[in-house]
């Protein structure tokens, strides 16, 4: 068995119109820029995929990565916790124009909904959002004298995740705080596609160090020296590139 994918275009080839796609990252850390840009390139060449529902903590920054995915018109709905950034113009304009719908979810609830999706738990109760607008319409239950809000699992057709090292079986390690949503999204997606900075053979990763076991991963593509969203934005990069 070998889960290695030959290139980025192949890695994103299965994503179809209307699918839900979890995209890893918190702000720029852990954002799978190259996978996102490959998806945009496919859309610009073929008109597909479109009408995607994207799940990410944020809504992109500048004109690369998730912001570019929204700017180029692939996204119909965003499920996120914090759609603000230092340069949020792309999402803000799309939201105000009504071209992208927003489901706002508290950050810990978003993480736990994704974890629950991957763990086969259809719903859970959390104290988060009790008594607020974000709990409206959701069942509330009292446990041991406190009130809790019922939240449902979140699953997706695909996850696009950035990891640090991966072996050909899909075992993964992450780099520092770039881990964030990656391990959860790999669990919750029917197909988790992971770009790794270094692809290695089975045995090269210490089993004690594996963060995401390969059972949660369907495809691995090597992207050495991946771009950092923050660095791209500091250079005012756009995807696709705009003529100077």
């Amino acid at each position: 068995m070998d889960k290695t994918l030959p290139d980025l275009a192949t890695a994103v080839a299965g994503i179809e119109d209307g699918m839900s796609v979890m995209i890893g990252g918190f702000g720029g850390s852990g954002a799978p820029i190259e996978l996102i840009h490959a998806l945009i390139d496919r859309f610009l060449a073929t008109g597909h995929p479109k009408n995607l529902t994207v799940i990410n903590n944020n809504a992109g920054n500048g004109h690369v990565g998730l912001a570019a995915l929204i700017e180029q018109g692939l996204v119909a709905k965003l499920i996120c916790s914090f759609p603000r950034s230092s340069d949020p113009v792309v999402f803000t304009e799309a939201y105000k124009a009504g071209s992208v719908a927003l489901e706002l979810v508290p950050q810990g609830t978003l993480a736990e909904r994704i974890r629950a999706g991957g763990a086969g738990i259809p719903a859970f109760y959390t104290p988060t959002s009790y008594g607020t607008l974000l709990a409206e319409g959701k069942p509330v239950e009292e446990f041991d004298g406190r009130f809790y809000v019922q939240e449902r699992w979140l699953k997706a057709d695909y996850a696009l995740v950035k990891a640090h090292r991966g072996d050909t079986l899909g075992n993964l390690t992450y780099r520092m705080a770039a881990r964030n949503f990656g391990p959860l999204m790999c669990m919750a997606a029917a197909r988790a596609i992971v770009q790794v900075s270094e692809l290695v053979q089975p045995g090269a990763i210490d089993p004690e160090a594996v963060i995401t076991p390969g059972i949660f991963v369907q495809g691995v593509v090597e992207v050495p020296d991946p771009a950092q969203e923050e660095a791209l934005n500091r250079a005012n990069a756009h995807h696709p590139e705009v003529p100077a």
Binding site: L104, R179, N180, F181, G182
Partner: protein
Amino acid sequence: MRLTPTQMAWRAAQDIEDGAYVNLGIGQPEMVARFQPPGRQAIFHTENGILGFGEAPEPGAEDWDLINAGKKAVTLKPGTAFFHHADSFAMVRGGHLDVAILGAYEVAENGDLANWSTGPKGVPAVGGAMDLVHGAKRVAVMMDHVTKDGKPKLLSRCSLPLTGVGCVTRVYSSLAVVDIEGGHFVLREKVPGLSFDELQAMTGAPLHTDGPVADLIAPEL
């Protein structure tokens, strides 16, 4: 005479015990970490997945995989730990954090907090605030005592959408330290030179006292 945001952060830092696990909200509360009293070492949690991180690196030395919840670069320290988001919020909701210090638009005398939405205009964003207010053993707020146009931010009831119900127990304001106990504001400290009546006039609900009110004095910072 009022405290600057830096001085408010200094005051909030004086209440953090040695060894406490602390989450600091994005923006002004982040400064609290700079003012730990000598001999005390808190361990700071950032909800994107780091425990025990250090201060900002020198410009040019940033590693953008090593950021805090405000998306600012931080550094490693001996004992730093990384974890994924579900573990991070298990630390929050599971009652493992000792203190959370957050900014606020409004705080009510019943402990309600409003700090995520100023109403239907604009793009709503909540982040981890709604999780933090239900997890930390102590939830404190650090904020100006009044709005930019002079309206009280400590109120009988919040007018803006709530972040959490009955969650705040102490407010470090630019003019006072106020506890929330039994559905009341209890004044603990106020800046010198400001009378109780003057402070009450800038507060949107009755201030109670329970023993002496100390002078709120912070060093020049």
